[in-house]
């Protein structure tokens, strides 16, 4: 399935109870801690941030982290920020984020990424990591890089079974 098709299919099937892609997906369904709309938004947003994230089911990892790892404050900050994707899309297309054309989704995410990058460049930029979009992006990148698909793509899995300290790139 092409990525474009995948995203279209994602949006089309957004109301189904469970989303699962590929054999590396956790067999358990997504946790019920997030609303269906949030799940759908996360799935599309992670895919736009890092192509392949949807197939690697990064949204399920984010759900798990929000439910069982992050503090209640972090979870609240994240969930309070996420609707901004819809708000920003509405000003462009009068549609929710998931229903917007890909170009608009990318534009909205790029703007947020630029804002976090600008925060990072400020004095005391340490607070940039607490921005809800910085959380989303971090979890997306980490989730994909530690998925089977991600580790295969990065050449980290399967293991080499030997050591070469001066191998050609």
């Amino acid at each position: 399935m092409e990525r474009r098709e995948l995203i279209q299919w994602l949006v089309a099937t957004a109301g189904l109870p469970s989303l699962a892609f590929g054999r590396q997906v956790h067999r358990r369904p997504l946790r019920r801690s997030l609303s269906a709309h949030v799940e759908r938004t996360l799935t599309v947003a992670t895919e736009r941030i890092l192509p392949g994230a949807a197939e690697a089911n990064v949204a399920a990892f984010i759900d798990k982290m929000l439910a069982d790892w992050h503090t209640p404050e972090e979870r609240a900050r994240f969930l309070a920020g996420l609707p901004e994707l819809d708000t920003r899309c509405h000003t462009r297309r009068a549609a929710d984020f998931v229903a917007c054309p890909e170009a608009d989704q990318v534009a909205v995410l790029t703007a947020l990424d630029d804002e976090v990058t600008a925060l990072r460049a400020q004095r005391g930029g340490g607070t940039a990591n607490q921005h809800w979009f910085a959380m989303l992006k971090y979890l997306t990148v980490y989730g994909w890089c530690t998925s089977e698909a991600g580790m295969r793509a990065l050449g980290l899995y399967p293991m080499a079974g030997r050591y070469d300290g001066c191998a050609p790139v």
Binding site: Q24, H26, R48, I49, L50, P51, G52, F61, K64, M65, D68, W69, V106, L109, T110, D113, D114, T117, R120, N129, A134, K137, Y138, V141, Y142, G143, C145, T146, S147, E148, M151, A153, L154, G155, L156, Y157, M159, A160, G161, R162, Y163, D164, G165, C166, A167, P168, V169
Partner: protein, 559 residues
């Protein structure tokens, strides 16, 4: 040799099944003794319990750890460098195993209760001591003299190294003696460059060599060579690194004379005052919390430095010197430096080498440093950062994905491990009221660095930067980390020291308690000074040596 009379009497009891307990079990059973090993924790079955090949996507938190459970149950243990989401099961539960420190003097007491103890999660770096170390206290008029010299222990280093398998590079340094090494692991391109440049600048004064590590690089005693998967502290299904589960306990079991009892927490020793002998131990079954006794002709305490001291203190034994629990030592770390290297952009490493470089001690070896006595060694390595360095990189989409696949520039770091001097006031005592989950009085630990350690810590960052600059590194950054928390290197030792005089030491030159001739302590408690080398090899050599001595005494009827 006596035969087992019933299920509760043995020739020997060994308390602890880790680094030294495994060696005591092997040596005593191979010398004919029916030996009971009491282990406080659970049994370990490699096929079930080792998790080194479990990929991150099979872990609930992908390797980030269960933050809430860790905060609640393992806030101390989680400070260890080998604690992670996979290996946390090999560390104790801090709630069940409490201890206290002064509020302004934290001490990290890392503890492992399972068959194999900390030998499953250790760093595997093994370095011999030399007379630079054994003569140090006498030379500096610090504390008391060691009762042994290198010549006393050298054959036992050979004995241990031949069994465990140590890969390393012979360097011919008098103060870091070579052993019967297996082939060394390879330096990577930048490490080789740094070795060459440091040699050109410092000659044989500062040597960059590959770490000497208890990982096999060739088949050895039916154990397979390392396959470079990386996370040894999660176990090793091919038994390629030394641990008691992987090597010594199977050897002991093969004699038919080993009885291993897990879930057995030793509360105290049982003492026959008229005979001045221990008759056995009193233990609590960790599951049923019932108490029972086992008897034996000799007892070896191999429970780890602080646990063995705790058993002695709870028994009120072997402490006529008042030295039990005193002289707590660790190695100070936190100092060092890192730098970047241009070039080799067409080169990378493949595989996860479970080892780094080592720079043997060079301070106060042939010259005298004005700011401190003793010294430190560096461990470290070179590499190229992968995706972890791009977790917060700007951009999204295909460009971000491309960025994740790019390797960063080569960088190299050196981190120091410094000697700590023995001081009586660094001390573990029985807590007056606090007990563990089994009702056994626990410890109050007071331990802090002295000016000598702090001066060593500062010097580490200066000389690490010198090494990097000599090698042509750019953007050299001295460490900004302060001194590590005492205990944080997990090299705690010294709490029942060896010596020449019963008035000032707990053990004689054979790890035998002065007060109770059939009681031996052979773990880190025995150490009279700390050196700066990773200490497990010396603990193992002392254990094997003491076992042979004890068996000779038994044969002569002297115990």
């Amino acid at each position: 040799m006596t035969q087992v009379r019933d299920a509760t009497h043995f020739d020997a009891i060994v308390v602890g099944s880790g680094m030294t307990g495994g060696w005591a079990a092997k040596e005593l059973t191979e010398r004919g003794l029916r030996t009971l090993v009491l282990e406080a924790g659970r049994p370990i079955t490699p096929e079930r319990d080792y998790v080194e090949h479990k990929p991150p996507w099979e872990m609930p938190f992908r390797g980030l750890g269960d933050a809430r459970a860790v905060a609640a149950r393992q806030p101390v243990q989680s400070h260890s460098v080998s604690f992670d989401e996979w290996s946390h099961v090999f560390w104790t539960d801090d709630r069940d195993n409490p201890y206290t420190t002064p509020a302004d003097r934290p001490f990290h007491w890392f503890r492992a209760r399972q068959v194999g103890g900390k030998s499953t999660i250790w760093g595997r770096q093994v370095y011999r001591w030399s007379d630079l170390d054994f003569e140090a206290n006498a030379r500096d008029a610090i504390a008391i003299d060691w009762p042994i010299r290198y010549a006393d222990i050298a054959p036992w280093y050979d004995h241990v190294e031949r069994f465990i398998g140590v890969s390393g590079q012979a360097e011919g340094l008098a103060h870091l003696p070579d052993g019967p090494f297996l082939p060394p692991m390879a330096l990577n391109c930048v490490e080789q460059h740094v070795r060459d440049r440091v040699q050109a600048r410092f000659g044989r004064d500062r040597v960059v060599t590959i770490g000497r590590v208890a990982n096999l690089t060739a088949p050895h005693h039916s154990r397979a060579p390392c396959h470079y998967c990386g996370p040894c502290h999660r176990g090793c299904i091919t038994r390629s690194y030394f641990s008691s589960v992987n090597a010594t306990l199977p050897a002991a079991r093969a004699t038919g004379r080993l009885t291993l009892r897990p879930f057995s927490i030793v509360r105290s020793l049982v003492y026959d005052a008229p005979k001045r002998r221990v008759t056995g131990v009193r233990m609590i079954d960790a599951n049923t919390k019932t108490e029972r006794e086992y008897t034996a002709r000799i007892v070896f305490l191999c429970a780890s430095a602080l646990e063995s001291a705790r058993i002695l203190l709870n028994s009120g034994l072997a402490n006529s010197s008042g030295q039990v629990g005193r002289n707590v030592m660790d190695h100070i770390k936190g100092g060092g430096a890192s730098g970047q290297f241009d070039g080799w952009t067409d080169r990378r490493t493949i595989g996860e080498r479970p080892n780094g470089i080592y720079v043997p001690r060079f301070r106060n070896v042939t010259s005298r440093h004005p700011g401190f006595i003793r010294g430190y060694a560096f461990q470290g390595g070179a590499g190229r950062a992968g995706w972890e360095s791009a977790l917060r990189a700007p951009g999204i989409g295909a460009a971000l994905k491309e960025r994740l696949t790019q390797l960063g520039p080569w960088s190299m770091n050196f981190g120091g491990f410094g000697e700590m001097l023995p001081r009586e006031e660094n001390r573990a005592t029985l807590h007056p009221t606090l007990v563990d989950a089994w009702g056994i009085p626990t410890l109050h630990i007071e331990c802090q660095w002295s000016d000598n350690e702090l001066a060593i810590h500062r010097d580490m960052s200066v000389t690490a930067a010198e090494l990097l600059e000599a090698a042509g590194a750019k953007d050299v950054q001295p460490s900004t980390r302060g001194p590590s928390t005492p205990g944080g290197t997990n090299h705690e030792m010294g709490t029942a020291r060896m010596g020449r005089d019963p008035k000032t030491s707990v053990l004689n030159g054979w790890n035998q308690t002065w007060d109770v001739p059939n009681l031996f302590v052979t773990d880190g408690a025995a150490m009279t000074s700390s050196g700066c080398q990773n200490p497990s090899l010396t603990y193992m050599a002392l254990t094997a040596r003491a076992c042979h001595y004890a068996v000779e005494l038994l044969k002569r009827g002297d115990l």
